[in-house]
Symmetry: C2
Subunit: 394 residues, 2 copies
């Protein structure tokens, strides 16, 4: 068995960035930009008014000025401001050639045919060359970098890219994930539970966790507990996906076929067994660049291992930032007798985290109130209420 | 004009919870549970082994015991343990009637026909009634509350509900949102930009922001700047959606038709104008329980108002928790001369937030590095580097 940190290092070493794809901008939220975006346009691409008002020349600021014309937003009309005239302009619309300033309409006395700047405002120091005029390229210049490669696209990045006319971005792909469910005792939720049967929660739970991580392409396969069927199922999963998550059958017992089925499927074993609770029999392997994770069968172990190993791998495959644990103080001191690293269901509130009752790996009921996992390091046995422990929000 | 806090209070007052719907469990991530879930089953529903090992009676712990039978996981076979015998059992499988304990196989010397507990382990104090046996109902009892109404479903809740056999949950609906884009100067990204034209970024930007909030049902409508078409478009949007977001045309100018079009569409105006920058002309109204938000045209203003007013309303409509601002210290002191509340594009790192250059409401380029909005209160003019200011992550 290896330590949690050794296991994490192995996952990190083997989770290779997926290939680059072209994605429509409206699908690109949350992806990592693989190539910098260079603006094809200067934005704005014309001298643009930032106010409803009148364009004029500073030299004539004290004069009554005839209204020469108007330039509503969206017009392609190009006009040149005549000397000692004003042109009516609009927010977002063009400013005529030769204009120095745009005076907002609130500062102007206007009739249908002429205007004059209000007496109170004529000497306002804000009236200087360029007032209320957005110069061409004053947001971004054509040919310059708009967004750097490596940017993880949030909604305002998407808006920015639309504003410079982009419709497609080059991003790192997100993994296709296949889930293989093993366990003869399992029946699907919604059925009647017979004696000896257990509701299958891992397909639903893992799919929800993957969705929470914005992984959309998820396949679920089911196999009975025998070597031939498990092997065939893992092979199908490897054909479908970049990452195969198997639940159950990963220990070394009469009905545990996952390790051998992986071997039969050509999966290189990278580790099997981690000094942790839950999730001690965790298996991690690789076939070409495809990652295979043999998770335990209990849903609590599955979700704990998901948080610690699967989610970081997914983020790394897609060029996304790993989630760093937060920190909180235990509400009550905790003593553990085992040399395993513990991941406990917890509830954090205002920086204080409570270890919930019902911590066994088959007990999901504590998830009703849990909002995080608490990590208690393997080589520490006494945890007091003074020092922070790492927590991972669910 | 009203203050930001007054405007927020009006939004809060009028954003009514949407109706309750039945949703398949695998679609329910991130929804608010509208009815408590009562478990229909005791889980586990049989005495279940937590180990691969042997079930026996404590009275015979020191004996050699013939192996009576085996009970693999998933079997519906019911057997009763004979006196002075052992039954081979498996993790997740049933334990026979009359058994007191399950001894893990690692503690047992077994031949094909009989077992004996290892000498080293015979006196282990862990060997006590109930060892490695999960009692029926020890995760949850039939008829008890599994999840309380009001729970916002994360992935582990979904797993828990699957584990008790649920397939459908009653949740508050999320809003259908219609976006109405006004502005004669706008062309869609991907086109050639003619003089006087601006790329339309609000449909893409708002859609991305809504997706980031897990709102899926989004309609986008476009209208030219005239009263009849704007009115018709807002009416169509009201027919489609629970919430109508309009961009542009919300000031009081020759080409601003949104306020009148709202009036013509029977929208009750709740406020128009907020003491803030950007987003001063913000309009908020209501028709029956449908919310209408008239946003400015500049994408920066749109996204700022989205964060401050639209997102909180969406969360409230769906029974979800409002996002509280975080806090950070300004990297450099900031002075503002205006009595408006400022929302500035910022970049927060390690608790220090920097006001980015290019803050004008038409300048999206600073979103390249921005990760938050900084709020500078309306009635404060000097902001030093010692006190925290509220920030909202993008």
């Amino acid at each position: 068995m290896i330590s949690v940190s050794e296991a994490k290092a192995i996952v990190t070493k083997h989770a290779m960035l997926l290939n680059i794809i072209a994605l429509p901008l409206d699908k690109a939220l949350g992806y990592c930009l693989a190539q910098s975006v260079i603006s094809k346009w200067s934005i704005p691409n014309f001298a643009q008014s930032s106010m409803d008002g009148y364009a004029l020349q500073l030299a004539y600021r004290n004069n009554k000025l005839p209204i020469q014309d108007e330039l509503p937003a969206g017009t392609s009309k190009k006009i040149s401001l005549k000397e000692a005239h004003a042109v009516k302009v609009f927010t977002g619309g063009p400013v005529p050639e030769n204009a120095d300033v745009v005076i907002q309409k609130e500062w102007v006395n206007a009739s249908a045919t002429e205007i004059e700047i209000d007496e109170q405002k004529k000497l306002d120091p804000a009236i200087a060359a360029g007032l209320n005029i957005r110069k061409p390229g004053s947001d971004i210049q054509k040919g310059t970098v708009a967004l750097e490669a490596g940017t993880i696209l949030h909604s305002a990045h998407i808006a920015f890219l639309a504003s410079i006319g982009e419709t497609v971005v080059m991003v790192y792909r997100k993994p296709i994930v296949a889930i293989v469910i093993t366990g003869n005792e399992l029946v699907k939720p919604g059925n009647q539970l017979q004696d000896g049967e257990v509701f299958e929660a891992n397909a639903t739970g893992l799919s929800a966790a993957l969705k929470q991580a914005c992984v959309e392409a998820i396949h679920v396969l089911y196999t009975k507990d025998n070597l031939a069927e498990t092997t065939a199922c893992i092979q199908s999963a490897l054909d479908l996906a970049d990452m195969v998550l198997i639940t159950g059958g990963v220990s070394v017992g009469d009905y545990d076929f996952v390790a051998n089925a992986c071997l039969n499927s050509g999966v290189e074993k990278l580790f099997h067994g981690v000094k942790q609770k839950p999730g001690k029999p965790l298996l991690f392997g690789k076939k070409e660049n495809k990652l295979v994770v043999g998770l335990p069968g209990n849903p609590v172990s599955v979700l704990s291992c998901y948080t610690q190993y699967v989610l970081p791998a997914i983020l790394q495959l897609s060029g996304l930032n790993t989630i760093k644990p937060a920190a909180a103080k235990l509400s009550v001191a905790y003593e553990k007798k085992s040399a395993l690293c513990f991941f406990l269901k917890g509830r954090e509130e205002n920086g204080i985290v409570t270890v919930l009752p019902n911590q066994a790996s088959y007990q999901l009921s504590s998830f009703a109130t849990a909002n995080c996992w608490i990590e208690l390091a393997e080589d520490v046995y006494q945890f007091d209420t003074m020092k922070n422990v790492p927590i991972y929000y669910i």
